[in-house]
């Protein structure tokens, strides 16, 4: 399986570390909404198909990446830096609350 790092180019999966499901939205740290925390910790989509994931190029540039991987074929349909997305996700969260 090859993952295309936006900085280093296509690299073998052995250089990468899986950092978890990319669909999770962490509640505000002060949130007391137990359902939201429960969903953040336990609920997973578990799709048979395209899945948003966070990977780290730990054996290369060490950047965190947002990757869409097909769980049936391992095909990587997109990859990019997670940094910008993280800010966008926080913004979405802040404007929502």
């Amino acid at each position: 399986m090859l993952i295309t790092c936006p900085y280093c180019g296509p690299r073998d999966v052995i250089e990468f570390t899986y950092q978890g499901d990319g669909n999770r939205q962490r509640p505000q740290p002060s949130s007391q909404d137990l359902d939201a925390w429960n969903a953040y910790v336990y609920d997973r989509l578990n799709p048979a198909g395209d899945h948003n994931e966070i990977w780290q190029h730990s054996g290369g540039c060490r950047a965190h990446l947002r990757v869409v991987r097909n769980t049936l074929t391992h095909e990587i349909s997109s990859s990019g830096f997670a940094r910008g997305d993280h800010k966008a996700a926080r913004h979405r969260l802040e404007t929502k609350s």
């Binding site: 936006p6 900085y7 280093c8 073998d12 052995i14 250089e15 290369g60 540039c61």
Partner: protein, 195 residues
């Protein structure tokens, strides 16, 4: 300054080795630079960091991922977004950068004692390195001056191409001897010389 001991010493045997009856096709050496620095820019400060590298070291870095330059005495290359390795034969580069890279531009980390620089040169250098790392070593894909970060069996390595058939590899000092032995074994079949 104290004299630095090479971690390769017990396994560093100058001379020709391996299958060299038909000629030596690999030259291995330790470049022992006085300064090895890691410079990191905060997001958005990359250009200012690159101009600081030009100001202090006189090296004009090209734009783009992994871009680098080497002039035989000093070398610099990008190895991650906003992060650069800068190397100098002389000691004291960290203090030269400390005054220029202010805390609002980024950080300076002195790795001079933490990394070992190994040089592999010769017509079969690409071929030997291809046994170690799953990256493209062909000249169009990996131009002279450019840098790459990758791993060999979990040993993190930064590689800079410093000539058409010459590469400088920066590895953790603690893993350097084992990496060096592996490099020697991999070079045996084409004949190598340790200088």
């Amino acid at each position: 300054m104290v004299e630095r001991q090479s971690p390769l010493e017990p396994e560093f045997h100058p001379g020709s080795h391996g299958n060299f009856e038909h000629g030596v096709e690999i030259i291995l050496s330790e470049t022992r630079p006085g300064s090895i620095l890691q410079l990191a820019a905060w997001p958005g400060e990359e250009k200012r960091l690159m101009s600081s590298i030009y100001k202090v070291a006189g090296l004009a870095l090209p734009d783009g991922a992994g871009g680098g330059v080497a002039d035989g005495v000093k070398a610099a290359f990008g190895f991650a977004p906003g992060k650069f390795t800068v190397v100098d034969e002389a000691e004291g580069l960290a203090s030269a950068f400390a005054g220029v890279i202010t805390p609002n531009i980024g950080t300076v980390t002195d790795l001079s004692h933490g990394r070992t620089a190994i040089r592999i040169a010769g017509p079969k250098a690409e071929w030997v390195l291809a046994k170690f790392f799953a990256i493209d070593f062909a000249l169009p894909a990996f131009p002279v001056g450019a840098g790459r970060s990758t791993t060999h069996h979990d040993v993190f390595a930064q590689i800079q191409r410093t000539g058409a058939d010459q590469f400088d590899i920066y590895v953790f000092r603690s893993f350097a001897r084992s990496f060096w032995k592996a490099l020697c074994h991999a070079s045996e079949e084409v004949g190598y010389e340790v200088q």
